[in-house]
């Protein structure tokens, strides 16, 4: 039976001085894919500026706002309704030939097909000293290995808000052992990619009914490509497989490709941002 | 035409015109003071103060002894003084640079030469004995530039915008010069029974606006306060008068704004209104409170400028 979710995303930006020119680009609209359907989208801003629905460089839906007047405060409210299939993440045929899967990873065509999600970015590059941090067991299937990696990542970092920010690199996370969902995800991606498994960073919403970490903000997890199965979602922050509680917005190489909000604001002085995300489930 | 580039062209016109008026003011005041009929008008301090007053940077300390070389350097060739002639020319060229693709090669080359002439002028020579040569060159070069503007550009919106800049600035500078010389005439009263209305400063004022010969031809009498102000403010045939400048501004704004509908929010409407007010004034109304008139005109001009910016140069 499908689940219906209502997602509310609200943010208010306040500036010390008048803002003369500003652009924002929101990357917060849930995508429609095999496991979810976007039913309705409602977006507005307090300045009644035009909301332009567009796409970003990777083809995901965005909303751009450019108020052509001076202001000191602006509020954005978004509400989405999504239908999510209730699927079992373990529902696939386990691989028959483990060895062949590993060979696939090494084939040139495979590497060409998944190049974008095999190369490491500054956020998903492990320091040289940590190269042997985690080893795959090649007697196990890729899926089993990734699940073990998911658990290992979950156990390697303590979830704590405020220690890291969007610019924190893996080096820092490995030594300090604190982080939030994007740090868990970056670490997972880095290790999987070092083992030639195409892995992408996913940005989305998490329904927290079950007491998961997600901190009423947008959530992040990873998707790894397993030959014969396809893209499989892993949530290392909560040590679970991605299921019907995860509502996907977009994916990319790392956080930078998926930043929910990009802004270019010309203003002097301080500014303050209030921001909240709510995911409400309505069992149908 | 791009709004930003239009703005640059407008200011190119203004800076060209501004550098000319400052240069001529320095030249005329300095050299006519040398044989002025009364002692105060001859006084070097008096002339230097007048120069600073005209560029909007008056010396407030009455007891301060000003150094000639210092004042000339500051107004003429100082890179650090925003209103200096060298900075005006630099800005004129910078504005021309950004609109290079729209103006003629001939005009650009002339501006560029002008800039290099000033940039390479030795400041030591300028303050010592180069004042005449330097300022004369500037007034001549600006004439050449106006010639190039008139003769090598299509008379289209590009031309209209440059002419708007030139004429807005001319009106502003002439009114500032009137203000400065009016102030000088007030201050130099009293020496040898020299009365305000017959002050020597009125002749200097006309020369500062290059209008002395025209005025003599028109009135055939020694300039007085009334005849001078009438000529420089109200006479539509005097090319330097406020009246003529506003007529030109109106003519050129109509190239940009071709509508004939009644629109009280249009820049053209405001210009027409200001122009008509002056057109039907007589000099006695102005003379009884010249200070208020000057302020009023300056306010009107800046209001026009702001409106123009909003309507055409908004980017």
């Amino acid at each position: 039976m499908p689940l219906e979710y209502c997602i509310r995303y609200n943010t208010t930006n306040t500036y010390e001085n008048k803002v003369h020119s500003a652009y924002w680009q929101f990357l917060i609209i849930p995508e429609t894919n095999e496991s979810q359907d976007l039913i309705t989208t409602d977006f507005n801003n307090s300045l009644a500026a035009m909301n332009e629905f567009s796409i970003n460089g990777y083809g995901f839906s965005t909303i751009r706002v450019n108020p052509r007047k001076n202001f000191q405060e602006i509020t954005f409210n978004a509400e989405f309704k999504v239908l999510k299939k209730d699927a079992n993440p373990f529902e696939f045929d386990p691989s028959q030939n483990i060895k062949e899967d590993y060979l696939r990873l090494n084939s040139l065509n495979f590497k060409v097909d998944f190049d974008q999600f095999l190369k490491n970015t500054p956020f998903t590059t492990l320091p040289d000293s940590s190269m042997g941090l985690y080893q795959l067991d090649d007697t196990l299937s890729l899926f089993d290995n990734l699940q073990a990696l998911n658990t290992w990542t979950y156990q390697s970092i303590y979830f704590k808000v405020g220690v890291t920010d969007v610019n924190t690199t893996l080096n820092n996370i490995i030594t300090k052992k604190y982080g939030v969902c994007q740090d868990f995800t970056h670490l997972f991606c880095a290790i999987a990619r070092n083992n030639k498994i195409p892995t992408r960073y996913v940005s989305g919403y998490l329904h927290q009914g079950n007491g998961y970490f997600g901190d009423s903000q947008m959530h992040a997890w990873a998707e790894a490509y397993i030959p014969t199965i396809g893209w499989v979602g892993f949530d290392p922050t909560n040590n679970v497989l991605v299921a019907s509680n995860h509502i996907k917005v977009c994916h990319g190489k790392d956080y930078q490709d998926c930043a929910p909000l990009k802004g270019i604001v010309c203003s002097q002085g301080q500014n303050e941002t209030q921001y909240s995300v709510q995911v409400i489930s309505r069992q149908q | 035409m791009l709004a930003r580039v239009a703005n640059n062209l407008f200011w190119m016109g203004r800076y060209i015109e501004r550098s000319e008026h400052i240069a001529r003011y320095l030249n005329v005041n300095y050299f006519s003071s040398l044989d002025a009929p009364n002692q105060l008008s001859q006084s070097r301090q008096f002339v230097l103060r007048s120069m600073l007053f005209m560029v909007g940077d008056p010396e407030l300390d009455d007891d301060k002894h000003l150094l000639e070389e210092h004042v000339l350097y500051k107004i003429g060739v100082d890179h650090d003084t925003p209103y200096s002639i060298i900075n005006n020319v630099k800005l004129a060229r910078e504005n021309a640079n950004s609109a290079r693709d729209l103006i003629s090669t001939e005009l650009y080359e002339a501006i560029n030469k002008f800039y290099h002439f000033i940039l390479n002028y030795d400041p030591a020579i300028f303050v010592k004995n180069g004042l005449h040569d330097f300022t004369l060159h500037i007034t001549e070069m600006t004439d050449i530039l106006r010639g190039k503007i008139r003769g090598t550009l299509l008379h289209d919106p590009v031309y209209a915008i440059i002419m708007l800049g030139i004429n807005m600035e001319r009106a502003t500078q002439v009114i500032r010069i009137i203000n400065a010389k009016y102030n000088d005439a007030l201050n130099s009263q009293g020496g040898y029974g020299d009365k305000f209305s017959k002050s020597f400063e009125w002749t200097t004022l006309l020369k500062c606006a290059e209008s002395y010969d025209m005025m003599r031809r028109h009135y055939k009498k020694t300039p007085t306060s009334v005849s001078t102000l009438e000529f420089l403010i109200l006479n539509p045939n005097c090319p330097r008068s406020i009246m003529n400048s506003l007529n030109q501004v109106y003519r050129h704004i109509k190239v940009l704004d071709t509508t004939t509908n009644y629109n009280k929010n249009a820049t053209a409407f405001l210009i027409g209104k200001v122009r008509s007010e002056i057109q039907y004034k007589h000099i006695e109304e102005i003379e009884c409170n010249i200070q208020a008139f000057i302020e009023n005109i300056l306010n009107n001009l800046s209001e026009i400028s702001l409106k123009m910016e909003k309507e055409f140069f908004n980017y």
Binding site: M50, R64, I264 | E109, I161, L256
Partner: protein
């Protein structure tokens, strides 16, 4: 021999080790230069001193300058111009022109391929890391079809003549190659100074560049646009190539815009004019990929246009050159050019490639480290002649330093044998004489939908320092007018 009688060449010193463009091995003037040589001989060297300073001040007054940033104030400098032109006969030109078109087309097909199916990699012709480790490969361009299928609308191909008298390509510049305005200015300046010499040769005109460029750009207009509106975008008047940007806008008769003059609404691009917004369809951009759109690339770019990339991706505006072309500008890609040409066009390369050693390959790295003194070491992703080391000019300690750098990041460097660029008589200010100086040639090729154009001329760049092989203007190079003859 004629050159002994010739007053202006009386003290010309010919190094027989070098390939002189105007004298043969015996020191006799080459036939194609004979008339020019005689005509110049009618002048005295004093005439040259005068003509030279006149030409200089003409450039200066026209404001054909670039900015040099000093400690206190920025200075304006002219791009030094030499009065003795270079002549290319029709036969040689045909090779250059055909070779340039061949390379541009091959590069265009290569770019389409690596942003779509990537067959050249799957077929093992070029290695995977050519794109996966290139900083200039834009993932955002994956699967995007640029209007008209053209990526490198404008290519600047640098060729040299080696000792063997053959042309070799040194570099393909397909980001925003500059210099074309100087080709035209040089011609104008030479005509002003020595108009008499032009009557004696049938030379192709170079003034048709702008109209051809506009024509070809308009051929790749976005779909559904009837009469396209084209603009040139510049980073601003403080950019060193601003003169060229304004020149191109002026001669094409289009607006020269900055990022702040444009805005995007509902994925269409508009410029702000005195009469309100006007839609823009084609943008000849002279700003780098990373600065195009702060919402998509470098977020601190103040010279870009927010939303521009989305408009491009939706096919509502043409960008020339297309974003992401820089990946094929990489010097590592250069080394595969013969294979790339063969793969896409099934042709042999018309212009030679200089043999290149990849430091990323262990056996070649070893060769490079052992032979640095006979090689030129180049970083793969720098433009403008920066970071180049010439082996035989380095001291022992400098060699060690270069070795260290290479060992540290071998992927970043390639090495080539030191090519001996041909020399051309060049008037030298300091000595007031004509001397041999190394030259190269940058050709300008424009690709449009089913048509192409090569400017019959190009920019001959001169390394003004004696013995210097680097001709880039940022490294103190000058230039010469270049005549392509219609017939001999």
């Amino acid at each position: 021999m004629t050159n002994i009688e010739n007053k202006i060449f009386s003290s010309y010193q010919r190094d027989s080790q070098l390939y002189d463009e105007i004298f043969d091995e015996e020191g006799a003037i080459k036939q194609v230069y004979q008339k020019l040589f005689n005509l110049y001989g009618e002048h005295s060297i004093e005439d040259y001193v005068k003509l030279n300073s006149k030409a200089k001040s003409s450039f200066f007054n026209q404001g054909i300058t670039f900015q040099v940033y000093g400690d206190k104030e920025t200075k304006e400098k002219i791009f030094p111009f030499d009065l003795f032109p270079r002549i290319i006969d029709p036969e040689e030109w045909e090779i250059i022109e055909k070779g340039s078109i061949q390379r541009s087309k091959a590069l265009n097909l290569f770019l389409w391929d690596i942003y779509h199916d990537k067959n050249i990699i799957r077929d093992g012709i070029v290695p995977m890391d050519l794109i996966s480790s290139s900083a200039n490969y834009l993932d955002q361009m994956n699967g995007v079809d640029p209007p008209g299928g053209i990526y490198n609308h404008i290519s600047g191909i640098d060729v040299i003549k080696h000792k063997d008298g053959k042309y070799y390509v040194l570099e393909d510049n397909i980001r925003c190659p500059s210099g074309v305005s100087y080709v035209i200015c040089n011609r104008t300046a030479l005509k002003r100074a020595l108009f008499g010499v032009f009557n004696h040769y049938q030379t192709y005109s170079v003034t048709n560049y702008a109209e051809n460029l506009l024509d070809l750009l308009e051929s790749v207009k976005p779909q559904g646009v009837d009469i396209p509106n084209c603009v040139v975008i510049t980073p601003g008047m403080y950019n060193s190539a601003f003169y060229e940007h304004s020149y191109l806008a002026k001669t094409m008769g289009v607006e020269l815009v900055e990022g702040r003059d444009l805005f995007v609404e509902n994925d269409f691009v508009y410029m702000k004019t005195i009469k309100g917004p006007v839609k823009v369809d084609i943008i000849y951009r002279r700003i780098d990929d990373q600065f195009l759109d702060p919402l998509e690339f470098k977020s601190d770019s103040a010279i870009g246009v927010p939303g521009l990339f989305a408009a491009y991706k939706k096919g509502n505006v043409t960008l020339a050159n297309a974003p992401g072309t820089g990946v094929a500008d990489d010097k590592a890609v250069y080394t595969y050019m013969p294979q790339i040409i063969k793969y896409y066009l099934d042709e042999e390369p018309i212009l030679n490639n200089v043999h290149t050693y990849h430091c990323s390959r262990p056996e070649e790295l070893k060769y490079v480290l052992d032979h640095i003194h006979e090689l030129v070491i180049k970083p793969v992703d720098e433009a403008g002649g920066y970071g180049i080391s010439i082996g035989n000019r380095l001291s022992t300690s400098e060699i060690e330093l270069v070795k260290e750098q290479i060992i540290e990041s071998p992927r970043k460097y390639v090495a080539q044998p030191i090519m001996s660029l041909s020399v051309h008589p060049t008037y030298i200010d300091e000595t007031e004489e004509f001397e041999q100086r190394h030259v190269d040639l940058r050709t300008f090729t424009v690709l449009g939908k089913d048509k192409e154009f090569v400017l019959k001329g190009g920019l001959t760049r001169v390394a003004l320092q004696k013995g210097n092989l680097i001709v880039n203007s940022s490294q103190g190079g000058g230039s010469k007018d270049t005549w392509v003859l219609k017939n001999i």
